[in-house]
Symmetry: C2
Subunit: 280 residues, 2 copies
């Protein structure tokens, strides 16, 4: 079945970049956009991210493919309203958490859904942040694919492969634990780093000295609070486990400095160096 119409619910960084990227893979797509923010709707249209705007979910239900690129609590809310879908309609959510979303999808449309997490993004948000290269060569995690229909599995795979993404399959539970360590907890650290510097009375003089290391570590502290509040809520248990694990490591470091165990500290740093044997 040929894909003709693609609905994008949420015209921000992820949805807007997706449309720009998909346009580069085919001239045949017609993009229909929906967003509760009127200004974002107008921006998305004038930036050419979508061909047409609609204002209700009902108007988007006839699309061949519908992407949900909205905050994770919004995905759950929208899923409850998407009843009576055409059996060939494919709904792909791009949320950063997967277990609660997967469990929340009503049974009658569960096979329409593919729950995906593209491991990409920037700290920017809104339609003006959209860039066509956001997805290229990045990983997308596809969760609980056995619950998606055969047609929907094939459609999602084809679209993500056409975007030159690296497809990884995983149970939603496993995904959420991994994502807590590799993404959600690091966001908590970045926010905490920014706040700990800003509460110093001479914070402006301190920040004036910032070089690459600090800039890199505080970059994602610029991320959207509304989006991340939802993610932290949905992945609470795993996030807390990851924060505890980090706190434990940092406490080790602090104790070694307090007790002047320099040799052990050096070995601890050397162990951290080896991350890059598997990361790079």
């Amino acid at each position: 079945m040929q894909i003709k119409t693609i609905g994008i619910v949420g015209l921000g960084l992820m949805g807007g970049s997706l449309s720009l990227a998909l346009k580069q893979t085919s001239n045949d797509f017609y993009f229909i956009g929906l967003d509760h923010n009127d200004a974002h709707c107008e921006q998305a249209l004038s930036l050419g991210l979508v061909d047409e705007l609609v204002y209700t979910l009902d108007e988007i239900k006839s699309c061949d493919v519908i992407f949900l690129s909205i905050p994770v609590d919004g995905i759950i809310a929208v899923a409850q309203e998407l009843h009576s879908l055409n059996p060939y309609c494919t709904v792909i959510d791009l949320g950063s958490t997967k277990e609660k979303i997967s469990l929340s999808i009503p049974k009658d449309i569960r096979s329409n859904f593919v729950t995906a997490h593209p491991m990409t993004g920037t700290e920017k948000f809104g339609p003006t942040a959209a860039v066509s290269h956001l997805y290229k060569d990045q990983t997308v995690v596809l969760c609980n694919m056995e619950l998606s229909g055969k047609h929907q599995q094939a459609t999602a795979k084809k679209l993500f492969e056409n975007l030159d993404m690296n497809l990884v399959y995983m149970d939603a539970k496993e995904h959420d634990r991994h994502a807590a360590f590799i993404s959600h907890m690091p966001h908590a650290l970045s926010y905490a780093l920014a706040n700990s510097v800003m509460e110093q009375e001479d914070s402006e003089n301190i920040v004036a000295l910032a070089a690459g290391g600090f800039k890199d570590m505080s970059r994602i502290a610029k991320s959207s609070p509304d989006m991340w509040e939802d993610i932290f809520r949905q992945n609470k248990k795993n996030l807390l486990e990851a924060i505890y694990s980090f706190e434990n490591e940092l406490k080790k470091c602090r104790h070694m400095v307090e007790n002047e165990e320099w040799h052990t500290l050096n070995a601890w740093m050397e162990n951290a160096n080896t991350l890059h044997d598997i990361l790079d």
Copy 2:
């Protein structure tokens, strides 16, 4: 007085990049290099970072300017051996800590010294990491300048200005506290983040999902343990204060998640966002 010979003690990222950058500001400099690592000496010569190698401090003492681009404990050790300097010799150390170094310089050569901290670097090290643009448009903190001779002050200012650096003057004590927050503590976080992910039994699968945020936050966990052990030792008190401050912020975040205080969490994240009003 015309600068002709520039000695570089420590032919790694900082020293090598300095020589590459200074070469672009004048054709008149002759660079003499010294490093206790024989392989680095040969690399520095073959990469054209220096014109000549010497093997003892005595042989470098006749230079017009001597840069000390070695780990901070090494700077203190070398300072003790640099007696009987020509009154017009300028020694500039580039260490990341300043108070202990400033206090350690023997009185008879204190006016020869300028204690500087260029707020730049990468996670790479050794002569092959040297790049000519490392210093351009970056900040250099010059500490306790009133203890340096007039000639030495003028020489250091001129050289750093010629490198298109942004000069900032500060008391060494104040520098060390600021550097703890903006650089030293963030290094501890990055090492701790790397180690907390690596101690998970499925660390390879977790790391396979790494995107930009995690890569940025773990980049400086690749930094040299020998260099950072020295920095942590010399700036122990301020580092611990900065770590405690960070731990306190992260604990706030954890408590808000544990107690499901989402509204307060959102405001805490929004406060972190405002860092970028003063940083960017």
